[in-house]
């Protein structure tokens, strides 16, 4: 998975991105910080970090593919988190 694909997920979910040593992304809904994920700067392929990003986003492989390849929207994702009691 490429960093550009991760950035696209961050943008699609309208995550608040904070740049430090790494790029930290926070999902905020109705003013509440819901979850956090991150990626490092400057690598083309993020390797197994993708596995951790998926876990931090609380989705399974299929749902993660949906986030990456576009079918799963922000509102769909929020509904998913709500069904898990995370929102």
């Amino acid at each position: 998975m490429k960093t550009a694909e991760v950035d696209r997920i961050f943008r699609k979910l309208e995550m608040k991105v904070r740049n430090g040593k790494d790029q930290h992304a926070w999902l905020i809904e109705d003013g509440k910080y819901i979850l956090h994920t991150m990626r490092s700067h400057g690598r083309g392929d993020i390797g197994r970090i993708a596995h951790f990003i998926r876990q931090q986003l609380k989705v399974n492989e299929e749902q993660f593919a949906g986030l990456r390849d576009c079918p799963l929207s922000r509102s769909g994702y929020i509904d998913l988190l709500r069904s898990k009691g995370l929102v």
């Binding site: 040593k21 790494d22 930290h24 910080y33 956090h36 490092s40 390797g47 197994r48 931090q56």
Partner: protein
């Protein structure tokens, strides 16, 4: 025993003490290329094989965050030679070209995340509030 490592070196490898293959309690000799006889060509790396997953305690975060007890980190190496340091308690992972870099990356994340969680104390979801409580339970008040 000849073994192609798929890396720069391929040649004779000493077996870990205590038998064939990976032994959790065994020691791992340094890989040594014995194809070349001249001193200039004989290369000794600082690379150990196999690289087992390691769990290490981390307590020095180089910041005001001084935990009373260490955070345990799982150190691993990917096929691409990138190291990861993961805390399953904190759901954080650092990465780097060396184990130390991966741990330093994780430490920076711990400090960053803890800072944001404290700033946003009143605006956290239940899971993040739980994470903040966990951080605070670790912290040593000076």
């Amino acid at each position: 025993m000849a073994r192609d490592t798929g890396r720069v070196l391929a040649g004779r490898w000493d077996e870990p003490t205590g038998g064939e293959g990976f032994s959790p309690g065994g020691s791992y000799p340094i890989a040594r290329d014995t194809r070349f006889s001249t001193a200039a060509a004989a290369v000794t790396t600082t690379r150990f094989e196999p690289r087992p997953t390691t769990i290490v305690p981390i307590s020095n975060f180089g910041s005001e965050f001084v935990p009373l007890r260490p955070i345990y980190v799982v150190l691993d190496e990917s096929a691409m030679g990138v190291f990861t340091a993961a805390s399953y308690d904190l759901e954080l992972v650092g990465q780097g070209d060396t184990e130390f870099e991966a741990i330093d990356d994780l430490k920076a994340q711990v400090v960053e995340i803890y800072s944001v969680l404290r700033e946003q104390r009143d605006n956290l979801s239940q899971p993040l509030a739980g994470k903040l409580m966990f951080f605070e339970s670790l912290e040593k008040k000076s």
